[in-house]
Symmetry: C2
Subunit: 424 residues, 2 copies
C-alpha cells in the first residue's frame, strides 16, 4: 500500500469547516469594502521576479518563492500584491475616475520556515486608494482598516492602530540639521530590536540624544497626521488609534503616513499594516499616481478571532447559519422517487437549497441525513403523493401539503417568514 | 524611463470589469452549488509532483507547470484539483456523512503555448460527489452540470451534454470477446482525430468492424446509463443530453459514467467534462471511496457567454447592478465636512454602501463622481445642516431631510423600497 501524499510544508488543505471560516473572512472583508464603495480587482499569482526587484529598489525581498519556469524565466509566486497593483493601476488609470478605491483578496506566498500563524501560502486582503495625495485618503484608508477589525468583532480593548508619518521624521531631521534623514529612519526602524546602548551610540553619531528621539516618537506630529486625526475624530474612530512615530515600516517605498494594527496583548505580530507610497506606481508603471494602501493576512486574524470570545461567537453564529441545504426531501415510498426528483428539480430551480437521499434508505436514516445538512424543513413524499407532509425540523411541527397546493410557493414562504423557532 | 513590467505570457490582470465578470461566474457557480446542497472546500495551489504521477498512473500529464522549489522538491502548480481532493477526502471522510457533496473554485495552471481561450492560469469550478457508487450520484452530478449551464443563461439550443459509460464498452468487449478492453477504449478515444482507414485497420486488428462500433456508439447502453437517463427524465433534463459512447475521456482514472458538455456550434472545445472515478481516492489516499465529479473552466465559458445574446444580456444586467456605492454624500459647504464624515461613518456602519468626495470639489463635480459610483441617492450637506437634501439620481426627484429626522433610517428605507424608477 503506497503511503498517502501529504500537502507540502506550509501549505493548507481547507476541509469544509476551514473553508467556511475562510469564506467568513472573505465575506466580512468584502462587506466592509462594499460599504466603503471599493471595487474588486485581481492580479496574477505568478510574476516576473523583476517586478519585486523594481518595487523594493534593487534590493530583493528575502523569502521570495522564486523559481525558473520552463521558458527559463526568473519568476516568483507573488509575495504581495502592491507591485502588481501598481502595474495594473498605471495601465488602466486613464479610464478610471480618481480616486480609484480598489480592493483584492487572494493568495500570496513566501519561502520560509513554516511556523504557527505563518505558512508558505496565505490569503491577503489588499485595500488601496490611488490618485489622491491628500491626507483625507489616508484617513479614509485608516478608517477602513479600523472598521474591518470592528466588523470582525474586535473592540477598542482588542486592537490598536498605531499611526505614524515618515514625513514627520523629515521635518524632525530638518529641524535638527540631520544631513541624511534615511539613516535616521533606518535607526528608528530597528531601535525596538536593538540594545539601548547601541541605539544611543547610533543616534549620537548623527548628533541626537535618545531623549529627543523618544519625546518626538510620543509627542511629535506632522500636518498630515493632524489632518488624519481630525478626520478620524469626526468619524468617531480616533479612540482606536495612538500616534507612535516609531512605526516607519522598513520597506523603502513608503513615503508619508504609515500605520500598523497591533493586538493589544502584543502576543502576535502586527495584524495589518500599510501607508502611503506616492512613488511606486511611477517606478513600476511610469505614471504619476499617488497612493496609499494596507494589507491584512488570513492566518493571524483567524488566530486572533479564535482567541477572542466575542469575535469567535460572532464567527460561530455565522458558521451555524451556513447550512448545506434548507429543505431535505424524504422519500418514504420508493415508488414515488420520480415525483420526488421532479420536486427536487423544481425547488432548486426556484432557488431553494434542497437535498435528497440519492438512494433508498429508511425514513429514520433520511431524517438523520436531513439533520446533517442543517435543513430547516423536511418534505416527506410517500404513498399518499401528491399529498405530502412538511416537517419543521426546528419547531418539530408538521403540516400536510394538499394535492392542489402550490408546494414550491408554500415552502418558499415558509423559509422566508421566520415563525418563532425558525428565528433561532 | 524604465519600461513597464508586463504580466507573464498566459497570465491575466483582472481590472474591475474583468474581476466583476469573474465574480459573476463565481456567484452563479456558488448559487447552483447552494441550491444543490453542496459544500465548499479548497486545496493548495502548489503540490508535490508525485501527486499527479500517482493520479495518472505513472504517466505524467504533459504541460505541467513544474519546477524545483528552494528545498529541492519537485513541485507543480496544480493542473487540476481532483488529485488534491482525493487526498483531502480520504483524510477527512470518517468525520463526514456520505455522500460528500463538495465543490471548489480556484486557480489551476498549465505550461503550454497561450492561445485564445487557453491561458497558463485559469479558474476552475470543481464539483464532486464522494461516497456513493450508485448511478443516482452520476445523475445528480449531471443534473448539476446542466443546471449550471442553464443558470448562466444557456438554453437547449446552445449546449448539449454527451453521455457515455466506460462500463458499456466493457460489456461490449465481453460480448465481442475482446481480450484487452483498454486497447478498444484507446481506439475509441482517438478515433475522431484519426483517418477512417486507420480506424478500420485498428478495429479489425482486434476483430471488430467500424459498423459494429459506430452502431454501438449511437445505440449502445448500460445499466448505469439507463438509470441516469430515467433520473434525468424525472428532473425534466433529459432533452439537454444525448448518448454518445464515443466519449471515453482519455485519462486512465475514469471508471464508469463519463460526460462532456459541448457548445452546439462546436466552435470551441468541450465546455466541461467529468465522470466516475471509483479507484482514485484509494490510489491516492488508501481509502475506498467511490466518486464522480466534473470541472468547468472560466475562460471558455466567458467566451461562450460573450457570443450568446441571452447569456450576455443576463451577465450585463448583473454587472449593471454592481454599483460601487448606493449613496454619495455631496459636501456643498466645506465648513460641514466633519458632519458629513460623521454621517458617512454612520451610514456605512448601518451597512449602507456610501462614498464621498475626499477633498473639496465643486458640487457639479461631486454629482459627476456620484454618477461614476453608480449611486442611486445623493445626500447633499450644505450650510443648512442639519437640514439636508436627498436627491434620487434615478428619478431626479428631491426631498428635504429635516433636522429632527432619522436620516440613516430614512435613507435605508429609500434604498429598500424601490419606488418606480428605482426599479429600473
Amino acid at each position: 500500500m503506497a503511503s498517502a501524499i501529504q500537502t507540502l510544508p506550509g501549505f493548507r488543505d481547507f476541509a469544509p469547516r476551514d473553508c467556511a471560516i475562510r469564506n467568513y473572512l472573505f465575506e466580512t472583508w468584502r462587506g466592509v469594502a462594499q460599504t466603503y464603495g471599493f471595487t474588486e480587482y485581481e492580479t496574477p499569482l505568478v510574476e516576473d521576479t523583476e517586478l519585486y526587484l523594481r518595487k523594493s529598489g534593487d534590493e530583493l525581498p528575502t523569502q521570495l518563492f522564486r523559481f525558473e519556469d520552463q521558458g527559463k524565466r526568473d519568476v516568483t509566486l507573488r509575495p504581495e500584491v502592491t507591485a502588481s497593483l501598481a502595474r495594473l493601476a498605471a495601465r488602466v488609470q486613464r479610464e478610471n475616475p480618481k480616486p480609484m478605491k480598489w480592493f483584492e483578496i487572494g493568495q500570496c506566498f513566501r519561502y520560509e520556515k513554516p511556523q504557527k500563524g505563518r505558512g508558505r501560502e496565505f490569503y491577503q486582503f489588499n485595500v488601496d486608494i490611488l490618485g489622491e495625495s491628500s491626507a483625507a485618503a489616508d484617513a479614509e484608508l485608516i478608517a477602513f482598516a479600523i472598521d474591518t477589525m470592528k466588523a470582525l468583532g474586535f473592540g477598542p480593548d482588542d486592537f490598536r492602530l498605531r499611526l505614524s508619518d515618515r514625513d514627520a521624521w523629515m521635518i524632525f531631521a530638518e529641524k535638527h540639521s540631520i544631513s541624511d534623514p534615511s539613516a535616521l529612519l533606518n535607526i528608528i526602524d530597528k531601535m525596538e530590536r536593538m540594545p539601548d546602548d547601541k541605539v544611543s551610540d547610533l543616534l549620537s553619531a548623527i548628533g541626537l540624544t535618545r531623549e529627543t528621539v523618544d519625546d518626538f516618537i510620543k509627542n511629535g506630529s506632522s500636518p498630515a497626521l493632524d489632518a488624519v486625526r481630525a478626520d478620524l475624530s469626526a468619524r468617531d474612530l480616533l479612540s482606536y488609534t495612538e500616534t507612535d512615530l516609531s512605526i516607519v515600516r522598513g520597506l523603502a517605498y513608503y513615503t508619508g503616513v504609515v500605520f500598523e494594527i497591533f493586538d493589544v496583548k502584543k502576543s502576535l505580530r502586527a495584524i495589518a499594516g500599510g501607508g502611503r507610497y506616492d512613488d511606486l506606481v511611477k517606478g513600476i508603471g511610469n505614471v504619476d499616481l499617488p497612493a496609499t494602501g494596507f494589507a491584512m493576512g488570513d492566518m493571524v486574524i483567524r488566530h486572533l478571532i479564535e482567541e477572542n470570545t466575542l469575535a469567535l461567537a460572532q464567527m460561530e453564529a455565522w458558521l451555524d447559519r451556513q447550512s448545506a441545504a434548507d429543505v431535505y426531501i424524504v422519500v418514504a415510498d420508493e415508488e414515488k422517487r420520480s415525483n420526488a426528483l421532479r420536486l427536487l428539480a423544481d425547488l432548486r430551480r426556484a432557488g431553494v437549497s434542497t437535498d435528497i437521499a440519492l438512494t433508498a434508505a429508511k425514513v429514520a436514516k433520511q431524517f438523520k441525513s436531513a439533520q446533517n445538512t442543517g435543513a430547516r424543513l423536511a418534505l416527506v413524499i410517500g404513498s399518499e403523493f401528491p399529498e405530502m407532509q412538511l416537517k419543521n425540523l426546528v419547531s418539530r411541527s408538521e403540516e400536510t401539503i394538499h394535492p392542489n397546493a402550490d408546494a414550491i410557493a408554500h415552502i418558499q414562504a415558509k423559509l422566508d417568514s421566520p415563525d418563532g423557532p425558525l428565528l433561532a
